[in-house]
């Protein structure tokens, strides 16, 4: 009986009282509607960053003087940031992997590490901003720089809050080997935020050194 599908029914197997195949119920991993949803959130957010990079490229090409006007930005802090975000993504991924085996403590640990590293990222980024000696309104380059990295930092902040909530829920025992789609959804978003940083880092920090 389990080989009868609904579309077989539509083809004429009208047996009253027959049972459909067993189907999973509710939000499970990548079957959750929210998992589909977060992919489209990522697509639209990625578009936002593409338009930010488009604006940067457009201004770069049209700008009459040398670009960036104050020379390529310092690499040290931003490189540390890059490593920190990559590490946090790995921690979250390991935690997600662990809960699929039912290891809840490891999930909590992975999420907590990811969350803390996210906070460290924000702290270093704020330090770097302060070291620039410039602001949003200093010139066109800094308008672009602070707005773009600001958008990203806002995404990191949201990601940190998501990871904090997931850490709490994990500690409260809300997830197990079956019911863990919020973890997958939050982790996917966090990986996206990290990937965006790598693209921004390349554009703002590496590319000006190549020319």
């Amino acid at each position: 009986m389990s080989d009868v599908t609904m579309s077989d029914l539509a083809l004429g197997h009208r047996a009253q009282g027959m049972r459909a195949p067993a189907l999973p119920v509710g939000s499970i991993g990548s079957q959750a509607s929210g998992y589909f949803g977060v992919w489209w959130v990522i697509i639209t957010e990625a578009s936002l960053f593409i338009y930010l990079l488009f604006s940067y490229a457009y201004c770069t090409m049209q700008f009459p003087g040398p670009w960036p006007p104050s020379g390529p930005p310092e690499l040290t802090l931003a490189s540390m940031d890059t490593l920190i975000l990559i590490a946090s993504s790995i921690a979250v991924a390991l935690g997600e992997h662990a809960i699929k085996q039912g290891q809840r403590a490891r999930l909590t640990l992975g999420l907590a590490i990811g969350c803390v590293l996210g906070i460290v990222f924000v702290a270093i980024q704020l330090k770097e901003w302060a070291s620039k000696g410039a602001s949003l309104s200093s010139n066109l380059y800094y308008s672009l720089y602070f707005t773009t990295t600001g958008f990203h930092m806002a995404h990191v902040a949201v990601g940190v809050l998501i990871l904090a909530a997931l850490t709490l829920w994990s500690a409260l025992g809300k997830f197990d080997s079956v019911r863990n789609s919020p973890v997958s959804i939050g982790a996917l978003y966090w990986h996206f935020v990290d990937a965006v940083w790598i693209v921004l880092f390349t554009t703002y920090y590496i590319v000006p050194r190549l020319g």
């Binding site: 599908t5 609904m6 579309s7 029914l9 539509a10 083809l11 004429g12 009208r14 047996a15 009253q16 009282g17 027959m18 049972r19 459909a20 195949p21 067993a22 189907l23 999973p24 119920v25 509710g26 939000s27 499970i28 079957q31 509607s33 929210g34 589909f36 949803g37 489209w40 959130v41 697509i43 639209t44 957010e45 578009s47 936002l48 338009y51 930010l52 488009f54 604006s55 457009y58 201004c59 049209q62 700008f63 009459p64 949003l136 309104s137 010139n139 066109l140 308008s143 672009l144 707005t147 809050l161 909530a165 829920w169 809300k174 997830f175 197990d176 080997s177 079956v178 019911r179 919020p182």
Partner: protein
């Protein structure tokens, strides 16, 4: 596989029966009182709210247009001051393009999609509720500018440097900038809901070659919105920063780029134009077959043309910028693409004509609107084709010819199909038919009034009349054409009033419609009129494009099943299916009524009001409200049936969220 069976349910296949219907009714009906009013997630309720709200904005935009037409009826009139004129023509455009045209289609799709797809709700019902509240609040936010005498006043595309603070120091443009970002959030979440709904909540067997064209239209628009809405939200955010925090994005004296505004705006706004017509074209593609008594000619070509139009539509934005001094290469490329885009539109038009030609048309009011739309689409399409050519555009840009073109396109391909859709689906929504005699008068008044108003604009444009001037001298030869336009505008307005009159009369005295008054072939006509809260007693399975016409067409390998199927009555449940073939994949647990979307929208409104006043405490409160709403919304429920750790839970322990 072992883990799968643990958390699975093996649903019984049953015949629809009264006892089951009653049980589902209790599960799915909107809660009474304030909880139901603020917390409903029912797609039909949300759809109706969307449609009603968008018509209120249509009325406001219409009244604004009529005032403009009084001012322009004769030369040298001073009914309006130039500043008031600027605010009114801007708000006319904003109301129609942003607060009416998309939301009305969102409303129809909200109401119709689950019925067309054989489901009980959209995939993300709380997101759906959120999108409505955000839409309502953002519309009110933009309109609140009138209370300060400071409505947006630089036209709907709001070019810098006019819109920079040096030249426009009032709060007008801040209202517009923040309002558009606000509205963009609504559009985005609504689009995400539609895409996920189309991907996974179709009836079993509704593979992608059996999806109604309306669904293709809205799906295409939704994907496009997700890709391009960020462009305009970003543009408005950068402008807001320029105006309030001294950034240099659009400040030419500091190396900023005014043309960057135009690029970001039109990268969004041209696809948007398609987004606000493709679902309406879908209504025509689904409506004509019913009134021509045959399936749509060229279903596959029409579905592909829908997507092709949008794909090409991403690459035509600079035809709005031909006069800005771009390179010849860019001019040639974008001109070519703008002309090529006529091809998929023409495919669709010929498919409609062939459907009428080879069918046996029934001349209902709805058919009049759909057929009338084809005529207007052709006129608007040809004038668009003309302005796609660079030299013609250089002559006509910023004249009334462009105004004529965009009204033929937007009223022709949005308003006419929407009114046709009202005549067609009103019986489904209310259980009563609209009056056909008033309907006929309604159509001809609108059709004649529209052409009388808009066609002469082509001529005043060719005679050199620029758009957006608040008056003109009497010796330039535009007087007669403007008078005709103004008279036509009022006749058109009377036509719209006749529609409201018909609705008011028919709500009380209309003939009872029954489930399928037009003998339609798609699933929505299988549900009672009005449909019950759960839509379908058992979840239908589908064997062809027209489940209700199979006995006649005999085009299916088997037969669709409407009254035998899965009951899915353990909580609010419906079926999740696979993306391409729509094979059953999962049983979805749907949410109950919830305050969270409303609260989240209120928090968002507080943030935007705070941004308008640049009040950080206000923004902080908004962020906290938003955060709490999200946290409660997403708070995981108890571990449910099937989890090894929760073996003793009751079988359907999906809790209602806040």
């Amino acid at each position: 596989m072992a883990r799968h069976t643990q958390r699975a349910q093996t649903p019984a296949i049953v015949t629809a029966n009264a006892e089951l219907a009653e049980r589902l009714h209790k599960l799915w009906e909107i809660e009474p009182g304030i909880k139901g009013f603020l917390g409903t997630v029912d797609h039909k309720e949300i759809g109706i709210r969307y449609i009603v709200t968008s018509f209120v904005f249509l009325l406001l935009g219409g009244v604004e247009a009529l005032i403009l037409r009084v001012q322009l009826a004769q030369p040298d009139l001073h009914v309006l001051s130039p500043e008031t004129y600027n605010q009114l023509f801007t708000m006319h455009g904003v109301s129609m393009i942003f607060l009416y045209a998309m939301p009305v289609l969102t409303g129809f799709s909200n109401y119709l999609w689950p019925l067309l797809l054989g489901a009980r709700d959209t995939a993300l019902p709380r997101v759906n509720a959120l999108s409505y509240w955000l839409y309502l609040f953002s519309g009110l936010f933009i309109y609140a500018s009138f209370l300060f005498g400071a409505a947006p006043n630089d036209g709907w595309f709001n070019y810098v440097p006019y819109a920079n603070h040096q030249y426009n120091p009032g709060p007008n443009i801040d209202f517009y900038s923040l309002g558009m970002i606000f509205l963009g959030i609504s559009t985005t979440v609504s689009s995400a809901n539609f895409v996920v709904t189309a991907m996974r909540t179709r009836a079993a067997g509704m593979s992608i070659n059996r999806i109604p064209i309306l669904v293709w239209g809205t799906l295409t628009s939704s994907v496009a919105n997700l890709l391009v809405v960020p462009a305009v939200s970003l543009a408005f955010f950068l402008l807001w920063l320029d105006r309030n925090y001294g950034t240099k994005f659009f400040q030419p004296q500091s190396g900023g780029q005014p043309l960057l505004w135009q690029h970001l705006f039109w990268i969004f706004a041209h696809p948007w134009v398609y987004a606000i017509v493709l679902p309406a074209m879908g209504m025509v593609s689904d409506g004509l077959p019913i009134f021509c008594r045959r399936p749509l000619v060229g279903y596959t070509l029409v579905a592909l043309s829908t997507m092709a139009t949008m794909a090409i539509g991403f690459g035509v934005w600079t035809h709005h910028m031909f006069a800005t001094g771009m390179s010849d290469l860019a001019l040639s490329f974008f001109s070519g693409v703008s002309i090529i885009i006529a091809v998929p539109s023409a495919v669709t038009v010929f498919a409609w004509i062939a459907t009428i030609w080879t069918g046996r048309p029934v001349f209902t009011t709805a058919f009049h609107y759909f057929a009338g739309m084809i005529a207007l689409f052709v006129i608007g399409g040809v004038s668009g084709f003309m302005t796609g050519s660079v030299p013609v555009d250089w002559q006509l840009t910023d004249t009334y010819f462009v105004v004529a073109h965009l009204h033929y396109v937007l009223i022709g391909i949005n308003v006419f199909p929407v009114v046709g859709a009202i005549y067609m689906w009103f019986p489904k929504v209310t259980g009563r038919l609209l009056d056909e005699r008033i309907g006929r008068i309604n159509f001809w008044t609108m059709f004649i009034g529209f052409n009388l108003a808009m066609f002469p604009m082509h001529i005043s444009g060719l005679l050199g009349m620029p758009r957006r001037i608040y008056t003109y001298p009497d010796d330039v030869g535009w007087t007669a054409w403007n008078l005709i336009t103004s008279v036509g505008a009022f006749i058109f307005a009377i036509g719209v009033l006749l529609l409201f009159h018909n609705i008011a009369v028919s709500l009380k005295r209309g003939k009872p419609a029954g489930a399928n008054p037009w003998d339609g072939g798609t699933l929505e006509w299988a549900a009672p009129s009005p449909p019950p809260p759960y839509n379908f007693v058992v979840l239908p399975s589908v064997a062809s494009r027209h489940p209700l016409w199979e006995d006649r067409l005999d085009d299916a390998p088997g037969r669709s099943l409407i009254d035998i199927g899965l009951a899915l009555d353990k909580g609010r449940q419906m079926l999740g299916t696979t993306v391409i073939d729509a094979e059953p994949a999962v049983i979805l647990q749907m949410p109950f009524d919830s305050y969270a979307p409303f609260t989240l929208a209120v928090g968002t409104a507080i943030i935007f009001i705070g941004m308008l006043y640049r009040s950080w405490p206000d923004i902080g409160i908004g962020v906290i409200v938003t955060g709490i709403a999200l946290l409660l919304w997403l708070w995981p429920g108890r571990l449910r049936e099937g989890s090894p750790e929760a073996a003793n839970e009751p079988p359907f322990a999906e809790p209602g969220h806040v």
